[in-house]
Structures are given as C-alpha cells and as structure tokens.
Symmetry: D2
Subunit: 341 residues, 4 copies
C-alpha cells in the first residue's frame, strides 16, 4: 500500500485525492497540504477518509512513510515543488505544465534523472476512453501510414481575464493538451509549427495580450500533417474531437454526452450537448492516470507520461507563440537550440 501526500487542496487536488481513495487499490492518501488549509478543505479530507491535513507541505516531504507526492499547487510552484519532492526521495505526479519556463523544466528533468524516482506529468487526456481508442487503433497499425491528424478542442467558456494574464497564453495553457494529443495519437514528434491566432471571443483577452481562437498546423517527423483548432468558448459545451487519417482508413472520436437520448419533435431531431465541464468529461481519465502512476511505482516501470512528455508540448507551444508573433512557420529545432536542447 503506497502512502500518498497531496500538495494543493484545490479543485484538481481533490479530484486526485478522491481517485486515490476510491479507485486506486494499492494506494491511500496519508496527508494533504495546502497553505490556505481551511475548515471546508478539512471537511473534504475527512469525508475522503484522509486523517491528516496541514498548511505546511514540508510535513509531507518529511514523512518517511509517504512514498509519492501529487503536486496540485499553482503552476508557478510545479517545478520547485517537483524538485524539492524528488530530492526528498518521493515519487512525483505533477499537474501540467511542469513550468512555462524551459530552463526550469530542464532542471526538473535533471533532478528526475539523478533521483531515480518516478515522475509523471498530468496529461489526463491520454487516459480518456475516446482518445485512448484512437491511440490504440493507430498504434496497432489500423490507419496505416498517417497522413492527416485533426484535433478540435474548444472550451465551453473562457477563463477569467485574471487567469488569462498568468496563464502563459492559450498555447501553453489550453493547446498544450492538444500538442500532447498530437504526440500521443501519432507516436511522432513535431518538427514545425504554423499558428494562426485571433481574438473572436472577448476583446479583453486581446487586451491582456493573448488570443482566444487559433488554428495550428504541425509537421510531424513521420510525414503527417496535424491541425488543431481551438477556441476559448463554444456555446454548446466542451468540444473535444480528434481524427487520424491514414492510407488504410481514418479513426475519429466525437463528444461524450450525459445520455444517448434523442428527441424527435417538430423542431428537429435533438441530441444532447457535449458534457460541459472538463472534470465531468474527463472524470474517469483522472482516476486512471493516478492509478497508472501508482502502478508504475508498484511495478517499478516507466510512468506513462514522463518528464520529457512534459517538456515537448511546452516547446511546441513556444514555437506556436513565436509563429504568431513573427507570422511565419517555426521549427521546433529553433526553439530547442535557443535552450541548448
């Protein structure tokens, strides 16, 4: 039974805490830390059967019984906490992104390597039943030689302008998941990026220096071309689709709905909208990623999303950012060179 500590008792920290307590056979949460620990967080912990809460995450790092730490703090804390936890001898599951700063990610990667500990990045979509079905079909050779990969990823509602300002921009905050999906579905690496960005949702997002709508074309090292379309708002819900097309066929996924009910009436034949909220949409995926993280510890195997998988989409995101800024295609090798990678 792996004892787990969670740093950060916000929304995603609680999702992971619940996953461990309910769905992960070989693990249990021993302690939850949050600098703003309050009665409501404590009540949640108690309801989950987690006996110990603290404001000081060092208690987790010092506890010799705790073998694994889930880092669910704010993004700017991901890399320093990763390093501190690894150095304290813990296996680490870190929410995405590791950092917006490549140098800090490099540092984390070095510490991971030196530590010999497990490290997993929280790209939850890899564990989703739909995306996994595409991945598995592609990996099994069902589509043959990949030619075109398409990902549609639209949020139901834009984040707050305050969030936008610290988000690192749409590519590092939102598209990063889609960059990860391109790598996951194709099993290939991105070589070049061309990104077209616009502000069509809210001018305030533009004033904050970001874009809210994007179409990104990516050249992959397997010869395929990928294209992602993003929007910060879709009035019909959380739109998450993908397609991989190759010379033996195409595999595509559509959105999940709350039920399969279809109403035929005088105004048309009406199905349900996609699930609106990402936690609802990816609930099972969140449980599965934690289960596999614990599995990697128990069986001493590689984690399914390693530190390098955390780095790659950040590099793609930086290339996309540069592409928009300079209005030209940008090679990943350019970005890598800038960071001595």
């Amino acid at each position: 039974m792996i004892k787990v500590g969670i740093i950060g008792a916000g929304r995603i920290g609680r999702v992971h805490g619940e996953s461990v307590q309910k769905f992960v056979k070989d693990a249990e949460v021993k302690m939850v830390a949050d600098p703003f620990m309050n009665a409501e967080m404590e009540a949640w912990a108690a309801s989950m059967g987690i006996s110990k809460t603290t404001k000081d995450y060092h208690e987790i790092l010092r506890d010799p019984e705790i073998e694994a730490v889930l880092i669910c703090a704010s993004t700017d804390q991901h890399s320093p906490l990763s390093i501190e936890a690894l150095r304290a001898g813990k296996h680490v599951f870190c929410e995405k992104p590791i950092d917006h700063d490549v140098e800090k990610i490099k540092e984390v990667m070095e510490v991971v390597k030196a530590s010999g500990k497990k490290y997993q990045v929280g790209f939850n979509r890899r564990f989703d039943h739909n995306f996994k079905a595409v991945h598995d079909a592609v990996a099994a050779g069902k589509v043959g030689k990949q030619q075109i990969i398409k990902i549609t990823s639209r949020d139901p509602e834009p984040p707050s302008i305050d969030y936008v300002k610290v988000s690192g921009g749409i590519f590092l905050d939102m598209t990063i998941h889609d960059f990860d999906m391109v790598r996951y579905l194709s099993g290939a690496e991105v070589e070049e990026v061309y990104a077209e960005g616009s502000v069509t949702v809210d001018p305030a997002i533009g004033k904050a220096g970001d874009i809210d709508t994007a179409v990104i074309t990516l050249k992959l090292d397997n010869g395929a071309t990928a294209v992602i379309d993003n929007c910060r708002a879709a009035c019909y819900g959380y739109d998450q689709r993908a397609e991989v097309f190759g010379d033996k066929g195409a595999i595509a996924i559509s959105n999940d709905t709350a039920s399969s009910a279809v109403f035929s009436g005088k105004d048309g034949v009406v199905a349900e909208k996609p699930l609106f909220f990402f936690l609802e949409r990816y609930m099972a995926a969140y449980a599965s990623e934690i289960e596999q993280f614990v599995g990697a510890i128990v069986k001493d195997t590689e984690t399914p999303v390693e530190a390098n998988d955390g780095l790659a989409p950040v590099l793609i995101g930086l290339a996309a950012k540069k592409s928009v800024a300079e209005h030209r295609p940008v090679k990943i090798s350019e970005i890598r060179a800038a960071y001595g990678l």
Copy 2:
C-alpha cells in the same frame, strides 16, 4: 421501345408518367386517360412530352401499339381495370392494393394466369434504397437465422375522414405496405397475426369505424416473430424504420433527411427531421419500380411484385382486422379457408 398507357392522371399517375418519360430507357408514355381530364392535366402531359390525352381509357386499351398499362385510378377501379386491360392483351402495373375484396383479387389472379401477361403490384418500398439494403443483407445470409423483425411506420399526418371511410381501414390502407415489407425483408410467409389497435390521434377516426394506432405481432413460417408499430400521425415527419435481427447480427435502417446538417447550439445538437412527404421520401423508389416493370416486359421475366404479392398482404390485413375485432390471434389459414384459398 415499349409504349405505355396510364389510366388515372392524379398524383400517383403523374409520378409514374414522369418516371417513364425521364428514367425508363426502354419505354415511353403514349397516352394518358382520366375521366376528369382537364386543362391542368393536359398541361402536365404536354410538359412531359406525352402527346395524347383522353377521358376514355378504352382508347388506351384499343391502341394496338400500347403494350403496357399503368393503373393509377381509384382503388375500387384497380381490379376491374386490371382484368379489362389484361383481357385487352396489355401488361399491367397496378397500384396497391389490387382490391380490398379477396374474391376480386382471386379473379384478377386467374385472369393474369390465363393472359400470360406481366402483372406488377405497386409496392414501392421494395425498391427503396434503405429497405432494399436490409433485404439484400438478409437474403445474403448476413443476419443468419432470423429471430425478430421490427418495422416502424408512422405517417406525418392523418388522412381526411372522408378518405378514412373508404380506405378499407388502417390495415388494408397503411399497414399493407408494412405487411409487404415483412414478407419482402424476411422472404417468409406470415402464419398468424395479433393486432392491438387504438385511437390516439383523432376521435373522428374512431367514429368512422377505424383505428389510428396499432401494434401488430406476426408469426412467420421461418420461426421469426415480426412486430409492426403504426400511427397515422407523427409530428416530426414520415417515420420509416426497420430492423431484422438474427443470430449473426442485426441490420437496421433509419430515416432519410433533406441533408446531413447538424447544428450544435445552446439548446442541443439538432439534426434534420425525416422527410415529411411520402412522394419525396420514395421518389427514387417509384422510378425504380416502373423501370423494373418495363424490364420484366423487355426481358420476359417475372415481375418483382406479382399478383400473389398483392394478395398476401390483404390476407394479413384481414387477419389483423379480425384480430382486433375478436381480440385474439388469428391464423392466416383461417382467412384463406374462408376464401377457399
């Protein structure tokens, strides 16, 4: 080039006239007869390139150049006109039903036999792309041993009460198509019928001595059970679905729509309603049935829907009527015996 005469220039007569002129390579309409022939009918004939119109169908029967006659007159004229045309040496395509009276159908069948001429009954659904796809899959053994057959057949709007009164009742007027589909899809004969009827659309239909809603269970001689559900009104359009389930799988068809467009908005994901009007829905099927009738003449083969195919669903319809009246399952053999069949 087969010269064709059409008796009856109403809605369905014009559909068939247009089919012959536009889609049937080996035939052309030489004459159209209608006792109420008027300027509008004549204009239609002219627009179709049909030079000759008349109020007297005997002109068609007397014309030695005309080899085939399409009987599109009112239902009560189907059997006498069939007999007269056959005796005049014409091949006959007769709209469904041959007659509501089994004795008259028997008479037609005898005349067909004696004449050596082709005779086809207008069960257009046999020529529809969807129903044909089910038929072909079943005939090819794709579903294996048939177990359950389901047909949903709902009209968009009820007919007028005047029509209801002379329609022969829902089973002989509307369900007759579905009885034909059960025979066509299964390739089997019906042995027993249990029908449940109700009036849920319009009480006036009940006052006219008919029902407007029915669920009919049929036992087939291949061991399968079929079930038909009918309604005289469906607010979302003309609902025409079928499924054949067997030990190797199930094949099902859904409704046709004007386009594949789907709108995702805040109120749901909305597809188009089924096509509303039967002529629109079965347009291509009407052309195909006439083409195959002409083909049977040209190649001297059996027609695809023979006189016996016109008799069988009438017997099933009479059994269904009796089942509702006597509130019990009724064997087809009972009905046949009553008519010395």
Copy 3:
C-alpha cells in the same frame, strides 16, 4: 452515517458493497454475511475496508448499530430474508425479484407496511442515465400524450440451462426489468398483456420448459400501447434501447459503447459494439440506486422503487406466461383476482 449489512457476497452483493464504500457519502458497510463465506470473499471485504464478515446473517440482524440490510442472496431467499430483516427493525434493499410467488410478495408488503421501515427493490435500470433521460422527458410532458412505447432488451449470451430451470422463466427473470421500464417510463399501469414466445437461440432452453425469444404487447391505462422484444442472445452485445412516442414527439435511447471511436476503412464505417456485460453497462446505475436508498433513510422519504413496484412486474410476468400458455391476451385484473388483489 448509516451502518449497512449485506447478506450475500456473490457478484451483485459485491457490486453493492463497493457502491456503498465508494460512492455513498452517508453510509458504510459494517458486516457482510454469506453462508459460503470463504477466503476470497474475505479478501474482497478487506479490500473494501469492510472489517466484519460472517457465515451467519443473523449476526447482521442482531447488530443494533446496523440500520439497513442489502439482500443479495439467491432469489428464493429474497422474501423470507426481507421479512426477517424488516421484523428485526432494519430498512431493506432487496434485489429483484422479491419473489416469483405472489403470495410471498403480498406477505412482504404486509410486513413492510407494519414495520414502517424503508423497502426498496433492485430495479437498477431506473437509475441508468439513458432510461432516466427518457423518463424525465416523458414526465416533463415533452412527448405529449403517449401513444407507443418500445423496448428492446437482448442479452449478449443465454444463461446456463441450470439457471434457466430455476429462473422462473424468461418473463420473471429477464423481461421483468422491461416490464418495470414500461411502468417507469410511462408512469402508467399495464392492463393487458399479449405475449408471443419462441425458441430461436437454443433448443435446450425449450426442453427446459422456457422460451428464449419474445415479443410482448401491453395495453396501458393511459391509452398507450407498449411493445417489448426480448432475446436471450445477441452476438453484438447487450442491447438495451427504448422509445416513447407521443403526439408531441418521440424520445429514444440507444446503446452505450466503450468509446465514441468510429473507423472508416475499406470495409465500411465501423463503430463499437454495445457494452457486452450488464455490470459494465449499469455500473453507475447500481451505485445510484444504493445512494438513493440510503438517501430515503436519511431524509425519511419514500424509496424510489417500493414493494408495490416489485409486485407489479411479477403480475405482468405471470400474465405474459399465461398469455403464451393459453395463446390469448390476458388482463392483469385476471391475475390480480386470482391472488385476491
């Protein structure tokens, strides 16, 4: 926190045990009893955090801390255990059916009434997202006046012949869920039943005195007609569909699949089969029914599936059985009269 005891640690007992431990906030399992309690069952209990196991269910009934009992024993034990548990002052959740014998169900109902305790029958489909969506739309008046209700319910594989022999027959074992769905979806009572049964899956089922394929027509007291089609085997998986058609529209549900992936290749456009196994298909529904049972205790409200809801489908099943045997429609009032109801 409601303390729960579970009688029966087989497949369904464990499903409910896991539900309580993981998904029901206000309850926990204190004890599990099974006459064949063994190491494997004990290991399961331990993994679920259930500390106490026993071979003797009387321990559960005697434990004053345990307020609620889940009866997951074999069918013949459902009614005696229900009575014993109620008399011991426990709230009871009983797996379906309460009994095959109406007299015993009547006895249970009397004891429920006298006890003042909560009683819920395990009709899990009422808690399924798809069936609930239909129910809610109908209850909200979306389809208007109900006209036709259709339920397709086909199992992926037939049960063993040994099971068939003690199952009470297809109507009391399998169709009972569909009878419950007719009542649940329509909110109406069944007045008359006509059932057509056949053996198309396995002749051994016929030799065991049962049928494996059925089409059942039901007249409801709201004027609608319902039709159920059943088969003990469908090679493509567990087929669970329903449709309610009324004068304002039709609402229909289709099957759930493991993913939305669709592969377009040279052999067609291929989607996934329906989920194969009922526990997989109704997993969330099982959790929800227990949650609502506990909720009814906590809030002191009616349970969502009361003892009468356990009786009604048994009466319909007996009518269906009689209908097949006597080859005629059978009124529920006939069955009720026979039992003095």
Copy 4:
C-alpha cells in the same frame, strides 16, 4: 423554351446534357459538339432525345436559335470558348476552372461585361443539399459571428499521373472547389493563405511536381479562420465534410451514403462508406446548377456563380501554391497586385 448547345461530349458534358433534358423544364439541348464525335457519343445523344451532333462547335455558335452554351471541353479550351461563345451572343455556362491563367480569366470577365450575357462557372457543390444547408444556416445568422470554418475534402482515388501533369496542381484542380466552398459558406473573402503540402499518397505525384496532401489555413475578411484538409486518396471513399463554428453554434455536415443501413455484428456496428464517385455524390447538384443557370436566363437575373466567383478561387489557389513554394503565409493582395487587380 431555351435552346442549348453543349461543347464537349465527355463525362461532364453528358451529365449536363442529361440534366437539361430531364430536369430543366424551360430548356432543351439542340446540338452537341465534340471534335472526337463518334458513334457512342451519337448513341448517347439519341438516347437523350438530342437530334443534332457535330464535330464542329462553330455550328452551335452559328445557330441563331441556340441561346445558351455549356462549355464542357478540356480546361485549356474553357476561356477561349467562353470568349468566342459570348461574342457569338450566347449565354455561357463554363465548367470550372475558367482558366489556370489569371490574365485569360480577366479577359473572359471583360468579354462577359461587354456582352451583357449571362455567365456561370461550374462550381457544383454550391448546389449540393448538404453544403447548401450549411450556407443557408450561416446566411440566416444561425451560427452568429463566424470563428472557425473547417472543410475536409478527400478524393477516393488519385488521378492518373498524366492528368496530374496538366491539372495545374492540386490547389487549382482539387482544392479550388474547397476555396469556393470557403467563400460560399462564409460569404466572406479570403485575405491570406498558408499552405502545408506533402506527398503521402504516391511518390510519382511528387515527381510530377505536385503534392497529394495538403492542409491550408485561410484568414477571412470577416475575422474567421478557415482550414481545409485535402488528400488525393481515401480508401473509404469520397470524403466531403464541412463545419462552420460561430459564437451561437456550429453547423456541420457529414458524408452521404447509399443507404442508412447499419449492421450490428460480432465485429462492430457497421455503417456504409461514403459514396465513392463524385458524379454519384453530386448528381442532384449538377442538375440544380444547370436549372439555375437556365433560370437566370429566363428571369434575367444574375447567375448564382459569376465570373468573379471563377476568378477568386484561382487567386487563392495561386497564393496557396506560392505559400508552399516560399514556405510562408501569402496575402491574396500580393497575387492580385501581380495581376494588376
């Protein structure tokens, strides 16, 4: 009754000839010209009721009765024949593209203007039920402010290498339809193009100096971004999809199939592949475009696809070509400036 002459009796010439004869009330074909006129073409003409054939198209231009000419010759003849026919006082329907050479298109446009005659370009997809449904919804404001437009257009099989060599390249030959669709669906003009091209189908296409796979991003003057993905081969058939996403919703179309039949078997739930052949897929659209061309003559209105609609996608295609060659986004204004437009 408008008398029509057809120049070119190949595949598309015959499609249009049949459309006029069968589906266009106010027109009839008087003459067909083809330099390679042979017995087979003559037989076709006879079967369509077209009495006059010739090897010399001047006979058509000289015939004072013929008011309209359909130009269905090889692409290099489109512009000279357009000019000659217009100067002969004929209304002209010209197959796409008017020319690969912008100067020649400009000349045609000037002649059209000077002639006062009707001129329509053969962009058939504008008349397709699916694309039209999207267009109409967008034009009616259903999607609100347009944000992202997506078009998937994949051919079932690549053309011959000989054809590729004279095709003008994928952008002017195949994507030109999609460029037209972007303009048609959005009602907006393209301002900038970025195209990513690759050879994934057949290296011989690359050797012939062309590409066979492309992803093209387009910035529109209404603020939306469009993306087209193309491939010269899709093993599952002719893939023709589109989506327009805006702040009030998204409207999307999928492929047409021969029937709605779906087979559920042990290998999955299998629907039909998209229609394979473009003539089959767009049959009704071809009839509709000619009908509307004739309608514009009869009612003396604008044609639905004017000469400028023939120019615009060629400019976009040239920009796409330049984008691939120079590996950068290219503004349409750059292309226009080069041609003094």
